[in-house]
């Protein structure tokens, strides 16, 4: 047990506990916040692995952006802000599967590396400059494809979030296609005036 181990165990317990709370919490906002704690814990783990840039990125992107996106998404929906159950009957099954997967992975990873530890040298230099060089030499192509992915995500978000003219779908039964025809036509190049016909409430 070194001091590092102790810190790691603390971080791991918090992260794991928060992860469990994320999936067991019955309040969606709480779940999202626990997810935030989990992600922060992962950031702390990165820090303990001497990857401080990645740790900061973890905080900036995952905590700062993704969880906020979740929370905004929750604010967007009508129902689940309060105490709502989100249960399905598959819960026991899911628990069995994840417990089994967890067990198998733990056993295998420990078996694979249990005896031969990685040399505890000073952590390989993970300076930001090295990272930059890696991104722009070995991984330059995936880096460019990432921009394409972000483009797809944003265009998709616009398509899904953009309100169509008319009332938004309130029908509950399976809709034959005929009803979808009732929308007034959305002109391609209509001025985006009717866009946000939604106030804040």
């Amino acid at each position: 047990m070194t001091s590092l181990d102790i810190v790691f165990i603390l971080v791991a317990v918090v992260t794991g506990g928060a992860a469990v709370m994320t999936v067991t919490s019955r309040n969606l906002v709480h779940a999202a916040l626990f997810l935030g704690v989990t992600l922060a814990g992962i950031g702390a783990t990165f820090l303990l692995l001497a990857a401080d840039f990645v740790a900061m990125v973890q905080v900036v992107v995952y905590l700062g952006a993704i969880t906020v996106l979740f929370l905004f998404g929750l604010m967007l929906t009508r129902a689940p802000i309060g105490r709502e159950t989100l249960d399905s009957r598959n819960r026991p099954m899911a628990m069995v599967v994840s417990a089994a997967l967890f067990g198998i992975l733990v056993v295998l990873i420990v078996r694979a590396f249990g005896s031969n530890q990685f040399p505890a040298t000073e952590p390989i230099s993970s300076s930001v400059a090295d990272l930059g060089m890696a991104i722009f030499s070995t991984w330059v192509f995936p880096f460019e494809v990432v921009s394409m992915m972000l483009l797809a995500a944003l265009v998709g978000a616009v398509l899904l979030a953009r309100r169509q003219s008319g009332d938004s779908g309130t029908e509950t039964r399976v809709t034959p296609i005929r009803e979808a025809l009732d929308d007034s036509t959305e002109e391609l190049d209509r001025a985006p005036a009717e866009l946000g016909s939604g106030g804040e409430r």
């Binding site: 996106l69 930059g132 944003l154 978000a157």
Partner: protein
């Protein structure tokens, strides 16, 4: 490297101690006289009407968060590039320009489609 973070931890302890002490002392010495109007939601003296549960916000906020996420990722990529641009030269510049260019198209698109038009 981790030793760098010890003072940060200490600062956290100091800050947390300060906050906890302030709140604790205030809880000890402050008065406690609850009454029904204190316990209800503040709505400028009106009877509380609106229910938070069921409040929906404009989808614009979601789009803002989405854009934020995408540009956050972009910023995260810009930093390592900014550090190494002296070594990368025009090649790195070109790659980053391409990356930012595609995201720029996404940005122009979202703005142009009114994704961030508030009304």
């Amino acid at each position: 490297m981790l030793a760098d973070y010890l003072p940060v931890l200490l600062l956290f302890v100091v800050a947390f101690g300060f906050v906890a002490a302030s709140l604790g002392v205030s809880a000890l010495v402050g008065p406690r006289r609850p009454n029904p109007s204190k316990l209800s939601a503040y709505e400028c003296g009106n009877e509380p009407l609106a229910q938070v549960k069921g409040t929906r916000f404009s989808v614009k906020f979601y789009l803002v968060a989405m854009m934020f996420l995408i540009f956050d990722i972009e910023t995260v990529f810009v930093y390592p590039w900014a550090i190494t641009t002296a070594d990368l030269g025009w090649f790195g510049f070109g790659q980053m320009a391409l990356f930012l260019g595609l995201l720029g198209v996404a940005f122009v698109y979202e703005i142009g489609r009114g994704g961030l038009t508030w009304d």
